[in-house]
């Protein structure tokens, strides 16, 4: 699971502005959480959430954990996560936190190292996603006529379509 933050213009309304303001990075965002398969395709996505919401909460709201649990129960697949999802302890999630690499157990170290390697390749996919659509790195206009949703959907669908076609 990886979070994607897209910068957004500041709203004139203080209450709306507060919803999109991320205190950690001191900026206004629209957040999304994407899940990647090893071949770079996107099986689960939850997009267009206000920037004040944490990635882990977005995954919760978007039923991403439930979907991953369903896959784990049906096919035994697990998912590697980073420190943003560190407080979630479920058997279908593998934490790739740096702290685990320094544990005493060789087995735990080995797993943590492999999990970090897998998670790193997800970062590359996210980077490829941003590189193939540079517009995503631009600051989006603040509009409330559905423009934001259309823009995000265009980008996500185009990427998925492209991946699906090439794959």
């Amino acid at each position: 699971l990886d979070g994607l933050k897209i910068a957004l213009e500041q709203s004139g309304d203080a209450l709306i502005q507060e919803c999109f303001y991320n205190v950690w990075t001191h900026n206004h965002y629209v957040s999304s959480v994407l899940c990647f398969c090893p071949n770079g395709t996107i099986p689960i996505a939850y997009i267009n959430i206000t920037g004040a919401v944490h990635d882990s909460q977005i995954a919760d709201y978007g039923d991403i954990y439930d979907k991953l649990e369903m896959v784990y129960q049906q096919d035994g697949g697990q998912c590697t996560i980073d420190s943003a999802f560190g407080n979630v302890n479920r058997e279908f999630l593998i934490n790739s936190s740096q702290e685990l690499i320094h544990t005493q157990s060789y087995r735990a170290q080995s797993i943590a190292r492999d999990a970090t390697l897998m998670r790193q390749s997800a970062e590359w996919v996210m980077r490829a996603f941003q590189l193939s659509m540079p517009r995503i790195k631009d600051r989006m206009k603040f509009e409330e006529r559905g423009e934001r949703k259309v823009t995000l959907t265009v980008m996500t669908y185009c990427i998925i379509y492209e991946h699906g076609w090439l794959g």
Binding site: K67, D114, R135, W165
Partner: protein, 184 residues
């Protein structure tokens, strides 16, 4: 300490070196002269640089885009949906651009940043006209891709999941990672 920009360049070079000749040629981010001088000639390199799609995938996207483009018009009163009313034959304002241009416009828009000035130069349109068609194309593309199976966000089938698990097993030999399927 290496700067981010330098690290990106290094990784990009490593990535390009790992590709074959055709892969490198397609991702060189250049528009060849043949593409500019003879626009009827299909050229993957130029089209990928401008839109991110090769000729085959652009044509497949165009197939589902054209019927909607021909059925509706971007010239509607402000605040109304462009899909509210179907276009009547031989009535109303004539479309100034072809559907291929309109699709190319929206895909090129995703590949650029900042103002629409560069797109105005590429497509030879005034700002207001280009903005209307861009909004129209964005709405069409969302409409058509929502219904297209190839663009659906869905959990893969069990066979595909087994394939992914095998990929992970081959790469990571740690015993507990044997079932790891997805990545952060």
């Amino acid at each position: 300490m290496m700067s981010t920009r330098a690290a990106e360049t290094r990784y990009h070079k490593d990535f390009l070196k790992s590709l074959d000749m055709v892969g490198q040629w397609l991702r060189s981010r250049k528009i060849p002269r043949s593409c500019l001088q003879n626009q009827s000639e299909s050229d993957d390199q130029g089209l990928i640089t401008l839109t991110g799609f090769d000729c085959a995938s652009f044509a497949s996207l165009c197939e589902i885009f054209v019927p909607i483009f021909d059925s509706y018009t971007p010239f509607i009163p402000s605040g109304k949906s462009c899909f509210k009313r179907k276009k009547q034959k031989n009535k109303g304002m004539k479309q100034k651009i072809h559907p291929e241009d309109c699709l190319g416009l929206v895909l090129a828009w995703t590949r650029t940043r900042g103002s629409l000035l560069a797109l105005q130069l590429i497509f030879g349109m005034t700002f207001s006209n280009l903005d209307d068609y861009l909004l129209f194309a964005k709405r069409i593309i969302v409409k058509v891709l929502r219904k297209d199976q190839r663009a659906h966000v869905r959990i893969p089938r069990s066979e595909k999941i087994e394939e992914y698990k095998e990929m992970v097993r081959n790469r990571h030999h740690s015993s507990l990672m044997s079932d790891a399927l997805w990545m952060d």
